[in-house]
Amino acid sequence: MGITLQKSERWGSARLGQAVALLRNNPSIVLIYGIIIVICVVAAIFNEDFRTASNVANILRQSIVIGLIAIGQSMVVLTGGADMSVAMVARTVGLVVATIFLAANSSNGLIVPLVILGAGIGIVLGCFNGLLVTQTHANPFIITFGVANILRGVNLAISSTPIRGVPDAYLSIYDAKIGLVPVNVIVMALVWLGAWIFTTRVLAGRALFAVGGSERVARLTALRVNWTLLSAFVISATFAALAGLFLLSRTGVGDPNAADGMDFQSIVAVALGGISLYGGKGSLLGTLGGVLLLVILSNVFNALQVDIYYQQLLLGLVVLIAVAAYKSPRTA
């Protein structure tokens, strides 16, 4: 790394050198954006609907829910774990908020308090996950899998039928536009930028990499390992909660089947983007690529009218090929 920097300073542009080094160290990022570009070009040539501005806006907007969840998931995966409860957290938040809206006759004044409440639920559930993992030293995959199932039961106890009663003003979160560009896409771009800065420039973000790389070394360098792990789970669940809130504004009903399969899709997006599933390596740029690839693939499948069953088959196949292609070095 140091050598590359010196070389690039001789070229006169340290910034450019850094960018080149980033790409050279992460071939998966180059690969994934290459695949995205190829798919987009092919789809744009063969399908008229694909290249319309509204479809592009649509793709960007569809990438928000999975994007929010994937950002949070990235933080946990960077520490070497995974959060399998994100989809259920999103669903729980959506159901709770919708239930309260219904009970309060869809009053507009409740929007802000309920958004705060939803995020709060995420923080609490994240703390719960994080404390379980840090205090019992349990396997994060499985224990969050268990938490997800508890939440699944609780969700069905809240409601097994869709809940109406979300006020119209709340739906504008999804619908508001400036010209052609939806407001939420702009906000989401800022969120991505913020998350990227967090993981590259902020101590708490870099600590995620350190803990994922080697928990023991992180401990010896006086990083607070448990705090870092806890913060990763809190961020993950909070972003999942935000995804649940956004999903509620998209569908307009509290849906007991909301965010189905998002836990796995988010991990797939993270893995496709080249973040090592053993932790400690990767970049949020890759996750963004993974998210876009998943959304574009599903958009193209729908445009080609591929049967939903074959879509699942193909998704599984893509995942298996992708994970088989990135060979991680043998640990131990």
Binding site: G146, I267, L277, G316, V319, V323, A324, K327, S328
Partner: protein, 335 residues
Amino acid sequence: MKTLSVAPKAFTGRIAAFRPSPRLVHAVDWAGRWAAPIADVVVLVAAAVLVPAFYGSTNLKTLAIQIAVLGIVATGQTLVLLVRSIDLSVSAVLALGAVIVVQTTSGASVLVTLFEAFAIAAVVGLANGWLVSKRQVPPFIATYGMLVFVQGARLAYSKGQASGTVPGFLRTIGFGQLGPLPMALLLWLVLNGIVLLVLRYTRFGRWIYAVGGNPSAARYAGIRTDAVVIAAHVICSVLALLGGLVLSGYIGYVDLNLGADYNLNSIAAAIVGGTTFTGGRGNLFGTAAGVALLVLLLNLVVVLGLPIHWQYALQGLVLVLATALQGFRQFLISR
């Protein structure tokens, strides 16, 4: 981890602060090993006192068959957990096998179909094992990808609705009785006994524990670790398929959601029974007790007339508690 304690004091102050007493370590280790059998007895006694309906003969038969199906699947899952892997594709394999056998019995001979189904299961297991051992994919991701793939294959194959009837011999295995005991239960007891003996007394069994306990040491000792991991995965998938056949024989038809719970339940059963994620620790007696505990608890939800969604919460709760206990136990032992 032992080497930590020789590092200079100044640096290890924060790390070395936690020194568990030997008594605590022993207590947690004992709890991890015996939690499931003890909880079994407690649940059985509590059920006898609180809900006499629990001991009705129909309910007992249902329990026995459910224990048998989950037990067959959990036996394979335990093998996979013992080699530090995990198999999340069991539910898909279980359902795929049942769909194949039920759908093709109209024309082809039963033996050919059965052979096909078992071959497919073996290939799935082989692929899982290959991804996990040769490609070093985290087992959770590899097998979850396989779950999505196999589920997609099943849906594409059956076009979303399975049709056909369950062949007669499966009905016999799944629902028939041999003397006082259901056939399925006997099948499980025999299988569980065989694998238990294999694990305890054969070379292959020692290999499994060696690979799970310390993969690099096992490799240096000349064990072909990758082959052992792959073998465990193949056995697990084949047993999952067998479980699916018994299950479809028991319920008499095949639907879309057949066996969806078996991933979580088989893992939870193995872990409640004392198998840890870090491999090399656990046995099939514990798994059998864990299977019984899980089925008893889920059955109590039904017998007590509680809403069925509390089954999900209960499964999750058991899994969380068991994982926490085993994680803590492993942490204490390894210090």
